[in-house]
Symmetry: C2
C-alpha cells in the first residue's frame, strides 16, 4: 500500500516534470531546469497542504501560492492543468504563443489560478509578504472567537536568484519584524543560476541571514523527499509567530542529461534529451504531452477536495453571519471591492481665502477623511510619516500583537496589533511598493504607500508591475520638485514626473492646490488601477476655480480670457499659480492668456477630441507649458511653435526653495516673459518652416 502510494506519488511528480519539459520543448523556448528540480516540493505542497479550489480559483479564503521564480512558469502551468484548473492541455501546447493563456512568465488576469505576475526576480516573494500581511490584518479585523472566517496561508517558491535581490531582503526583514506566521517560503536551493554555479557570486548563509530577520528556518537535505518536504511545511505552519523559510536542496534539471549545470536553466533540453530525461525518470511514455492517467486522476482529486474546503468555509461564514451580521456584511463588501456608500462625502474643501497650504498637508487631511469612511484604506510610508503626512490618525499601528501594550493583549479588532491600519514599512521603498502590490492582489484592502518623490526610483520595478497587473492602490509621492529646497539635488525630483507618465496604465496626478488634491484622491479611490499622486512639500495658494470634480478629466480651463486667447498657459501642480499670476501680468501688456490646469496628462489624453480641442484650441499656436521638471512630454501640449518653462539637462541645487525656484526661472514674471516672446515670435517661427496663417 505505502509502496503503491509512494510509486503513485512518484508518477505524479514525474508527470509534472514530463509535462513541463514537453511544454518548453514544444515552444522551443523556456526554462526546464526549475520544474525538473522543484516538481517534488511543488507536488507535496499542492496536493498535501495547499487549500485551494481549482474549480473556484477566486475562492476568497484560499491559500495563496506565488511562484516567485516566474521563469519556472511551465511548472505552474503543469500544476494548474493537472490539479484541474481551467487550463486545457491545448494551452500548454500554445506555451509562449500569441494570446495563449500560458505566457512565458506567469501573468495575473491571464491564467486561472495565477495569483500574481512574476518574472522580475524578488517581486513575487515581496508580493507574498503583502498577501500574508493582508490576511493578518483582515483576520484581526473580522475574526471573532469561534469564527475564523479569514484564515489562510501564503506560500511562495523562491529561487537563488530571488534571494540575491535586495527587495527580498527588505521584504524578509519586514515580514520577520511583523512576525507573519502564516507566510511560508520554500527556497529552491540548487546552487545554479543563469550565469553559472552560484558560488561565482553567491555564498551567503541564507539560513543565518533569515534567522537574523526573525524567521523560523528549516532545511530539507533532499528535495526529492516528499515526506520531508511535507513535514517541514507542517512544522512551518505550526510556528505561528514567525514567517518560515524552508531551504530545500534540489538538483536543477533533475533527471536530464544536463542536470546540475547552468545549461539547463533557461534553454529547451532538445528533443532527444527530453526523451532521455523521461527514460531516466522511468516515465511510462516518451510521447510528447503524454499524461499518465493514474497521475491525472490522483491530482484531479484536488477539485473535489477544494469544493469540500470551500463548502466548509461557506458554512463558517453562515455561522459568522448569524452571530455577527454587520461584520459579515462588511467583510463581504470589502472582499467584493466595492467602496462603502458615501465614501467620498465630507472630503475637506478649501477656498482662496484660506492661507496657502502644501498639497502634502491637504493630502493628509483628505486621506484621514477618507480613512474614516473607508476601513479598507490600509498603508503607510517608508519611514517618512511626519513628512508625507500620511498617518491615519487613531487607526493604530499594524504590528505584531507581541508589540501591543500589555493591557491590550488579546484585544479583538479595534486598532491593536494586526488590526492597526498604519503600516510602518521602514526605509524600504522597493519592498513597500512590492508588498503593497501583494496587499492589493490579495483583495479586501486598498493599500497606499508614501515616500519622497525622488525615491520613486527605488520603487520603479514594482510600480511597473502594479501598472501591468492593474493593482488598485495609491502611491503618494511628496516633495515633488526642486521646491524641496535645501536638501538638494539628491532629494529634488527632476525627471521623475515625466518618467512615471511613461509607464503604461499608471495614472499620474499632480494637483495644483488643496482642492485638486481632494479631487486626485477621489479619482484614485474609484479608479481600478494604480494611481500616483505628486504632492508639494511647499505651501501653494488655493486657487480660484480649482474644482475637485475636474481633476478626473485630467485638464480643464482654470482661468480664461475674453474671446480667443493670444496664448495658452498650460501648467501642473505648484506651477499652476505661476501661470495664473502670469496671466494677469500679460493682461497688463495687452496679451490675452488662457490658463489650463493639467494635473494628469494620461487622463486628459483619454478625453474625447472635442473636449481636448475645447480646452486647447488647435488654432492657438502660441503656447507655454510650465512644469518644474524636464521638458520631455510637454512638446505635444506646447506644440511646434510654443515654449516650455522647465529644467533642461541639469539637476537641482541645495538652497532655500524660493532661491532655487527663482534661479531656475519658475516665477510669474519669467512665465509671462516667455509667453509674450512666444506670441511675438510666432510669425517668424511660421515663416521659418514655410508656413503662414491661412
Amino acid at each position: 500500500m505505502t509502496t503503491t502510494a509512494a510509486s503513485l506519488d512518484q508518477l505524479c511528480v514525474n508527470t509534472i516534470r514530463a509535462l513541463a519539459i514537453d511544454t518548453v520543448q514544444n515552444a522551443n523556448s523556456g526554462h526546464p531546469g526549475l520544474p525538473l528540480g522543484a516538481a517534488p516540493m511543488a507536488y507535496a505542497l499542492w496536493t498535501r497542504v495547499l487549500r485551494h479550489s481549482p474549480s473556484q480559483p477566486q475562492w476568497k479564503d484560499r491559500d495563496r501560492f506565488v511562484l516567485s521564480a516566474g521563469h519556472g512558469s511551465a511548472l505552474l502551468y503543469s500544476l494548474l492543468h493537472l490539479t484541474g484548473y481551467e487550463l486545457p492541455l491545448e494551452e500548454l501546447k500554445r506555451f509562449r504563443q500569441w494570446e495563449s493563456r500560458t505566457p512565458g512568465h506567469p501573468e495575473y488576469r491571464e491564467t486561472p489560478g495565477v495569483e500574481v505576475t512574476t518574472g522580475p526576480l524578488g517581486q513575487g516573494f515581496a508580493n507574498a509578504v503583502g498577501m500574508a500581511a493582508a490576511e493578518a490584518h483582515l483576520a484581526a479585523r473580522f475574526n471573532r472567537p469561534g469564527h475564523d472566517v479569514v484564515d489562510h496561508y501564503t506560500y511562495v517558491i523562491a529561487g537563488d536568484g530571488d534571494l540575491m535581490e535586495g527587495v527580498v531582503h527588505e521584504a524578509a526583514a519586514l515580514a520577520g519584524h511583523l512576525r507573519l506566521g502564516k507566510l511560508v517560503c520554500l527556497y529552491d536551493s540548487n546552487a545554479i543560476c543563469l550565469g553559472g554555479a552560484t558560488n561565482l557570486s553567491y555564498t551567503m548563509d541564507a539560513a543565518k541571514v533569515f534567522e537574523g530577520y526573525g524567521w523560523h528556518v528549516q532545511t530539507v537535505a533532499d528535495g526529492n523527499d516528499l515526506d520531508a518536504v511535507t513535514k517541514a511545511v507542517e512544522a512551518a505552519k505550526a510556528v505561528a509567530d514567525k514567517p518560515s523559510l524552508v531551504v530545500v536542496r534540489t538538483s536543477i534539471g533533475f533527471g536530464s542529461p544536463k542536470a546540475n549545470t547552468f545549461g539547463v536553466h533557461g534553454a529547451p533540453l532538445g528533443a532527444e534529451a527530453v526523451v532521455e530525461t523521461k527514460k531516466a525518470l522511468g516515465y511510462p511514455s516518451t510521447e510528447p504531452f503524454f499524461v499518465a492517467p493514474e497521475a491525472l486522476a490522483e491530482m484531479r482529486k484536488a477539485v473535489e477536495r477544494g469544493k469540500a474546503a470551500e463548502a466548509a468555509w461557506r458554512k463558517k461564514v453562515d455561522a459568522y453571519r448569524a452571530a455577527h451580521a454587520d461584520l459579515a456584511a462588511e467583510l463581504e463588501r470589502a472582499l467584493s471591492g466595492a467602496l462603502p456608500a458615501g465614501w467620498d462625502q465630507d472630503l475637506p474643501k478649501w477656498t482662496p481665502a484660506d492661507k496657502p497650504v502644501a498639497t502634502r498637508a491637504a493630502g493628509g487631511k483628505v486621506i484621514n477623511a477618507l480613512a474614516a469612511k473607508v476601513p479598507e484604506l490600509f498603508g503607510g510610508s517608508a519611514d517618512l510619516n511626519p513628512s508625507t503626512e500620511t498617518a491615519l490618525k487613531g487607526a493604530g499601528d499594524f504590528e505584531s500583537p507581541a508589540f501591543q501594550p500589555a493591557d491590550k493583549q488579546g484585544a479583538v479588532g479595534g486598532e491593536w496589533g494586526y488590526a492597526g491600519r498604519n503600516v510602518h514599512f521602514g526605509v524600504r521603498e522597493h519592498a513597500m511598493a512590492s508588498v503593497s502590490n501583494g496587499i492589493a492582489l490579495h483583495g479586501g484592502l486598498v493599500p497606499f504607500s508614501a515616500t519622497f518623490f525622488t525615491f520613486a526610483d527605488y520603487m520603479r520595478p514594482a510600480l511597473r508591475l502594479a501598472a501591468l497587473m492593474q493593482a488598485h492602490q495609491v502611491f503618494v509621492f511628496t516633495h515633488d520638485s526642486i521646491g524641496v529646497g535645501e536638501d538638494g539635488p539628491t532629494h529634488q525630483p527632476i525627471e521623475q514626473a515625466a518618467s512615471l507618465r511613461l509607464i503604461p496604465r499608471l495614472t499620474v496626478v499632480r494637483p495644483a492646490d488643496a482642492n485638486e488634491t481632494a479631487g486626485a484622491w477621489r479619482f484614485a479611490m474609484a479608479h481600478p488601477g494604480p494611481v500616483a499622486l505628486l504632492l508639494t512639500r511647499q505651501a501653494v495658494p488655493v486657487l480660484e476655480g480649482t474644482a475637485s470634480a475636474d481633476v478626473a478629466k485630467g485638464g480643464y480651463v482654470l482661468a480664461d480670457c475674453e474671446g480667443t486667447p493670444d496664448v495658452l498657459l498650460v501648467a501642473t501642480g505648484s506651477e499652476v499659480h505661476l501661470a495664473v499670476e502670469a496671466k494677469a501680468i500679460l493682461a497688463g501688456r495687452g496679451v490675452k492668456a488662457r490658463v489650463v490646469s493639467l494635473p494628469s496628462t494620461e487622463l486628459f489624453d483619454a478625453q474625447p477630441q472635442a473636449y481636448r480641442d475645447a480646452v486647447l484650441p488647435p488654432s492657438v499656436l502660441a503656447r507655454v507649458a510650465v512644469e518644474a521638471g524636464v521638458p520631455a512630454g510637454w512638446e505635444k501640449y506646447a506644440g511646434a511653435f510654443g515654449a516650455i518653462v522647465a529644467i533642461e539637462n541639469r539637476f537641482g541645487a541645495s538652497a532655500p526653495l524660493k532661491v532655487v525656484m527663482e534661479k531656475y526661472g519658475f516665477t510669474a514674471a519669467n512665465v509671462a516673459e516667455k509667453a509674450a516672446a512666444v506670441v511675438a515670435a510666432l510669425p517668424q517661427k511660421l515663416a521659418a518652416v514655410g508656413l503662414r496663417k491661412a
Copy 2:
C-alpha cells in the same frame, strides 16, 4: 597626561558636535542628530586611523571615507574644516545656500574631500564596496613583492536607514562573497529613524545577518568610548579575508534636550537647545561657530600627518618605478584616467554582406577588442553573461584568491584572484550599478555593467547618481525591446529607453546595427560621463552607410533621396532597417523619403542648429519617427504634423518576436503606410490649425 589627552580628545569631539549643530542652526535646516551621536566614532576614525592628506585630497593611495548616511553632512563638513581641508568656516556658515560648497547632502566634485554624493540611503555603502573592489583589483594587478603601491582601506559610516535598504544587502552579500578585507563599515546604531523608534519597523539582528553574508562583525557598546571604537577598527583591519562591520551603539542627538528622539533627526535644535546642548557637553563657549583653538590645533595635525604619509607613498612609488618601470608607468596612466594609445584601433567592422547580427553579439566582439587594449575595462553582468555577451574572454574572474585553483594560489598579477577582470555581480542589479559607481569614483578603472534592459528599473537610483556625479562608466542593456519575444511583458522594455533619456547628463545610445554598436562603444569609452548602450537580443541587418564615427553626432542621414524629401523617416536601433526598407517601398509609390538614424537624441540635440537643420530640414513637415517603445520623446522630431510608430499605452506580449513585432506594427509595410498617410494628410492638418504653405 592621559587625562589631558582624554580631555583634549573630548574637546575635539565636542568641537565637531558644536560646529555641526551651529551649521544646521545657522541654516535653520538640516540634520543635527547624527553628528551629535556619531562624532566620537568619526573623530576616532579620522584622527587615529584614516590615512588621508587634507592638503592633497586627491592623493591616489588615500584611504577612502564614505558617509553613507549623507543627511549627516554637517558632521562631514565639520571634519573637513577641522582637519584642514580647503573648507573655510565661511562655507559652513553658508550651509545649504545657493552655490555654497556645503550643500544639504554631500556632493562629489562640489567639496574637497567629499568622495561621493550621498543622501539616497544605501548608495554610499554600495559605493564603498565598489571602492574596496577597485583597490583589491588594482593591488592585485600592480603590487609586487616588496612593492605595495596600491594599499588603502575604505571606511564607511552607515545608519539604521542604510541597513534597511535592499541595495545594502545586495552589496553586503557581494562584498562578503568577494571577501573584501579592506572594507570597514561603522554602523551608527541609534535605534531612531525619521518616523520614530526603529522598533516600529526594524528589529533585525544586523550582526547575525552580516555574519550570514560572510562579514566579520564586532559591537561597540558605548559609541562615546573612543578607545573601544579605535580598537574595534584596528581589529577589523587585522581581519584580511572578510569585510568588517562594527556595530556602534550611539545616542542620536547626544547631549541635546531631544536626545534619543526622532525629533532630533532632521530638524534644527533651535537656538536655545543649541546653547543647552553646548552647556550639557561642557563646551567652553556657547557663541555660534566658536571653535576651541586647542581642538583645532590638535585636529589640524592631520595636515602634516597626511603630507608625511603621502611622501612616504611617493618614496614607495619611486622604488617601484626603479624595479618595475613598465608597471609603474601603466599604473600612473591608469590612475590619470587617460586611455592607452591606440585604444580604439582594431575595433571590429562589419559590412552589409555579413549576415544579420544582434547588436548584443556585436557588442560582445567590440568589448573584447577594447578589453585587449584597455586593461582598466573592468566589470560584468548581473548573472547574465551568456545573454548579455559581455564576458571578457581570457581575462579571468574577479574573485577572492581563496577561490583560485590550488596551482594558482599566490600567483601574482595575471588573471587570477582579484586580478581577474570579469566581475560576477549576481542577480543584484541595483548593487551592480551602485558598486560600479564606487569603482568609477575610486579611479584607475573604467567599469561596465550589464543586464536585460527591462531590469534597468532596478538600477535607477544608481543610474541617476552616476549621472549626477558624472561617473565614467558604461551600462550595457541588452534585450532592448519587444524583440525579446517569448519571455513576455515582464522582460520586454517599453518605456525604458524614453525614461533613461530623461535622466539629465546620462547619455543613451541605441545603435542601429553592428557598426553603430562599435561607434557607440568608442564614444562611451572617450566620454567622461556615464553612457547607457541599448542593444538588441535579435539579429538585425548590417546596413549600408552606418558609420561608427557618425554615432558621436547622435544622428545623421543614413539614406537620402534626390532633392527635397517628401517625408523624413527617423528611427533608432532595430527599427532603422525597417525605415530603410520603407524608403524603398515609398519610392515605388513615388514618395521621396530620407532615412535618419538617431542613435542618441541627447548627442543629436547637442549638435549645432545648422547641423540639426541639415539632417532634419525644418521645412519638411511630413515626418515619421519609429521606435519600438513609448512615443513620448519623439514628438519633437516628428513635429506637430508627423506621426510616430510606437507602442501606445500598453505593455508587450509573450510570443515569438516576429509575431510580436508584426502585431505591434513594426514592419516596413506599416512604416511606409504611415509615411504615405502623413504626406497625404499634411494639407488638411495644416488647414485644421489655420495654416498653409507660404
